[in-house]
Symmetry: C2
Subunit: 220 residues, 2 copies
């Protein structure tokens, strides 16, 4: 039996995942065939099966990679001095500044509406991502960075709403004013998430941020 | 030439639009054929062309109907005693409580990613809907119901984000706690949109609502 070089194997695996990603963006999850993926990755179908037994296995690898990336990003956000600002930048990078994610996310949602097996993948991904968000929000609440009156599970759902909606926006309006819209998105999320002096009077000696980042609003 | 009864003609036209809607939900805008629509509407292809020259003409009629409905809803919201609460109920009814709209919206976005002619329809619809939202927000700002520091155009974009995101949420998570999530959605939008005592000190004698609707948050 041929000896497998683990470094080269992982490198090729990553190449196939990247090639598949391009195919899914171009043809959709249903439309992209393993033949398309083999052509894009410059390998034979026989060679592909050394790495992935099926297209579904490639999609599963993409999901796991996405979750691992998200987990490391949440750690980085919690380590930053301003958790809310770091979260907002991350949300913008995952949505409004990533055309590839806009198409993939839309394709995944549409495919989930039609195909129960694909819907299961989408549900499992959302469940795992939601657990990461809930863990992140609970930690941020304990540190006093997020309003402790908010339920972490429901707030995680709201962040899903924002990310999916922000991914749809440039599809609906390709000439959208990205700068002004992201400034308003930041204002909304800051007003929602930050503990506010006006809502919850701080305990004696406790330091709290004000609610409205007025600098982000239009000049009057 | 046969004389056309305008009432019966409009009734049949509406039946065809409703039948087409069911087909688009089931098969997508691309997948649904005029044959599917004729079967669902119980008419012959020849008969269909008395009402609509093409599938695109049916889609255009759907778009125009949707815009007319939205315009009448914005008028009703502006006539209600609490504009923000009425807007939030409308957003919930257009998204989180309408499975049909969730599938149609997702299908429209996915089709817009693949088909430039369809993308044009989506862009024109968004442009007209955005104009309605901007008009509504400007009027609500003049009445003191919406924070005058927000740009109406950018705020309209944010409302698009919320509606599209809220439509995607039950697709990602079919067991989502709708009640708790809509409560948090209301809290976020109220904190974002309402003029706040803490952000903008009211003029002498002016009556303003407080920023945080604490009753909507979880009991501590």
């Amino acid at each position: 039996m041929r000896k497998i070089d683990p470094v080269k194997h992982e490198q090729k695996r990553q190449e196939i995942i990247r090639a598949a990603l391009c195919c899914f963006v171009r043809h959709g999850f249903h439309g992209a065939s393993t033949t398309d993926i083999c052509v894009a990755a410059k390998i034979s179908p026989g060679h592909l099966y050394h790495y992935f037994p099926s297209k579904d296995a490639i999609i599963e690898a993409l999901v796991q990679e996405n979750l691992a990336h998200a987990a490391s990003r949440f750690e980085a956000i919690l380590a930053s001095p301003n958790v809310i600002d770091a979260l907002l930048i991350e949300i913008e990078n995952a949505s409004i500044h990533r055309p590839e994610a806009q198409v993939l996310s839309t394709e995944a949602l549409a495919e989930a509406c039609r195909n129960p097996a694909f819907a299961h993948i989408v549900h499992e991904h959302a469940r795992a991502m939601r657990a990461l968000l809930v863990d992140f929000l609970t930690k941020a609440q304990r540190r006093g960075d997020v309003d402790s009156g908010l339920d972490p599970g429901a707030t995680a759902n709201i962040l899903f709403v924002i990310i999916d909606g922000a991914r749809a926006l440039p599809i609906r309006n390709p000439t959208v004013d990205i700068k002004q819209t992201t400034e308003h998105l930041r204002t909304m999320l800051a007003r929602f998430l930050k503990p506010s002096v006006s809502r919850t009077p701080p305990a004696a000696g406790a330091k709290r941020r004000a609610c409205g980042p007025l600098s982000l609003l239009k000049k009057r």
